[in-house]
Subunit: 217 residues, 2 copies
DNA sequence: GATGAAAACTTACACCGCTAGTTTAAGAGC
DNA sequence: GCTCTTAAACTAGCGGTGTAAGTTTTCATC
C-alpha cells in the first residue's frame, strides 16, 4: 500500500495503542511490529511519526504523567498538597504499572514530567522550605510513590505455600496475593502518613515563622 | 570445541560476569551472546548451567540482595533496625542500580530476598506490631528504598539549561546532575528520618505497652 | 572397557529495532 | 491544470536477540 488518501496513523493513536499493549502484556512485549500490527500497518511506518521506539515510550510515559493533578499546590497548604498530589500520582501510575520502570528514571525531556516537578518544587519553596530542602522532599516523595507503583508488594510473593516453609515468619505469605489491594493500599497510606508526619515535624522545628510562605497561590 | 578437560563455566562465574556487564552497560545491554563472549564461550553454552536468561537475572538479583545486612533485627530495637537495614539495602542497590528494576518486582522465588522479607517481618512482629501492620511497614520501607535506588533523582534531570526556561521554578535544575550524590543522599536521609519518625509516633499511639515485644533476639 | 551424563560446540528459527529505497497521494505555487 | 515537494505508506534487508536441537568429546561410574 502506497500513501493512502486518509492517513492511517498519527502520534496520538500510536501512543494510545502502545499504552494499551503495555498495560495488557508488559513493557517487554511491546515491539514496533506488534504495535504496528495493532494499528493495521507495517512496522517501519511508525518511523514516519516517531524517530525511535524510545521516543514512543517517552510519549507514552508523558501521557500517563499528564493525568496527575498538580493544581493542588495552588489550593492547599503544603502538607495537604503533598498528600493529594502523591495520591493522584500513585493512582496514575498504578493504572499503568508496566510503564513505571521507564517513567521512574526521571523527567528527562518530557514536558508533563517537567511541569509536575516545577509545581511540586514551587509549592514547597512558596511554603517557606529552603530550596535544597524542597528538592529533597520532592525526591523523597517520588522515591516513595514510584517504589509503591513499581510493582505490587503483594504480587511480588509467589502463591506457593511450600516455598515459605523454610522461613519461620512467612508461613502466611502465600496469601498476600489474595489481599493485594488492601495490602498495597494499607502500606501506601501508612507510609504516606508517616512521611508527612515526619516532614511536618521538621517544618515546625526548622522553618521559622518569618520564612513561612504566603500560602498557596 | 567439544567438552573441555576443565569446565570453562560455572554458575558463580556466570553470575559475576553478568553483574559486571549489567553494571557497566545496563540491563538492556546484557545479551546471552555478549555474556558468553565475556566468558570466552559461545552463547548457547550458558544453557548448560541455567535454563533461561531470566534464571540468570534471578541469580544476579539475589546475589545483590544477599549483601544486605539483616542481622540488625537481632541486635537493635525496631526503629534502629529499620534504619540500619534500609541504609544497608540502599547501599547494596545503589552499587548496582541497573538491576534494581528487575529486583524490585518482588522476592519471587529468590532465597536471599525471601530471607530478607522474613527477617524484617519477624523483627517487627517481635517488637509488638500487629502482623498486618508489620506487612505494611515492610512494604512501605521497600517502596521507599527501591524508589530511591531505581534511578538517581538528580540524574533524571537533563543537563540542558534551555530545557528549563519555560518552568519558573526549575531554572537551576540543570545543576542537579552536578550535585548528584548530595541531592540523592540528602533526600534519602530526609525521607528515612521522616518515615521512621512517623512510624514511631504511630507505635507510641497504637501499640500498647503489654503488646510491646521481647526486644531483639 | 562400556555407558551415560556433562559441557562445550554448530546450526537454525522466529523475532527484534531500524535503515534504505520505492510508490503513490496530497498540497502548494505558478 | 501542471509541476514540484513532501508525506505516509510500503518492501527488503542488516545485524542482533533468546533459545531449541542436535553433535562431539571428555569424565565418572559401573
Amino acid at each position: 500500500m502506497p500513501r493512502p488518501r486518509q492517513a492511517l496513523l498519527n502520534r496520538d493513536r500510536i501512543v494510545e495503542t502502545a499504552l494499551a499493549l503495555i498495560d495488557a502484556d508488559g513493557l517487554g512485549a511491546l515491539s514496533t511490529r506488534r504495535l504496528a500490527a495493532a494499528l493495521n500497518v507495517q512496522g517501519p511506518s511508525l518511523y514516519n511519526h516517531f524517530a525511535t521506539k524510545d521516543e514512543i515510550l517517552d510519549a507514552v510515559a508523558d501521557s500517563v504523567t499528564a493525568s496527575v493533578d498538580v493544581t493542588v499546590f495552588d489550593r492547599c497548604d503544603w502538607v495537604e498538597a503533598l498528600r493529594r498530589w502523591a495520591r493522584s500520582y500513585r493512582e496514575a501510575l498504578t493504572v499503568h504499572p508496566n510503564i513505571v520502570p521507564y517513567l521512574a528514571q526521571g523527567p528527562g525531556r518530557r514536558p508533563a514530567a517537567l511541569a509536575m516537578a516545577d509545581a511540586v518544587y514551587g509549592g514547597l519553596v512558596r511554603a517557606g522550605w529552603p530550596p535544597a530542602r524542597a528538592t529533597h522532599i520532592g525526591a523523597a516523595m517520588r522515591y516513595f510513590v514510584a517504589g509503591s507503583a513499581l510493582g505490587s508488594f503483594a504480587r511480588g510473593f509467589v502463591e506457593d505455600p511450600e516455598l515459605y516453609a523454610a522461613h519461620p515468619h512467612l508461613n502466611q505469605a502465600h496469601r498476600l496475593r489474595g489481599h493485594q489491594r488492601s495490602v498495597d493500599e494499607g502500606a501506601f497510606t501508612l507510609g504516606l502518613d508517616a512521611l508527612l508526619h515526619g516532614l511536618a515535624a521538621e517544618y515546625a522545628r526548622t522553618v521559622t515563622p518569618l520564612e513561612r510562605g504566603t500560602g498557596p497561590g
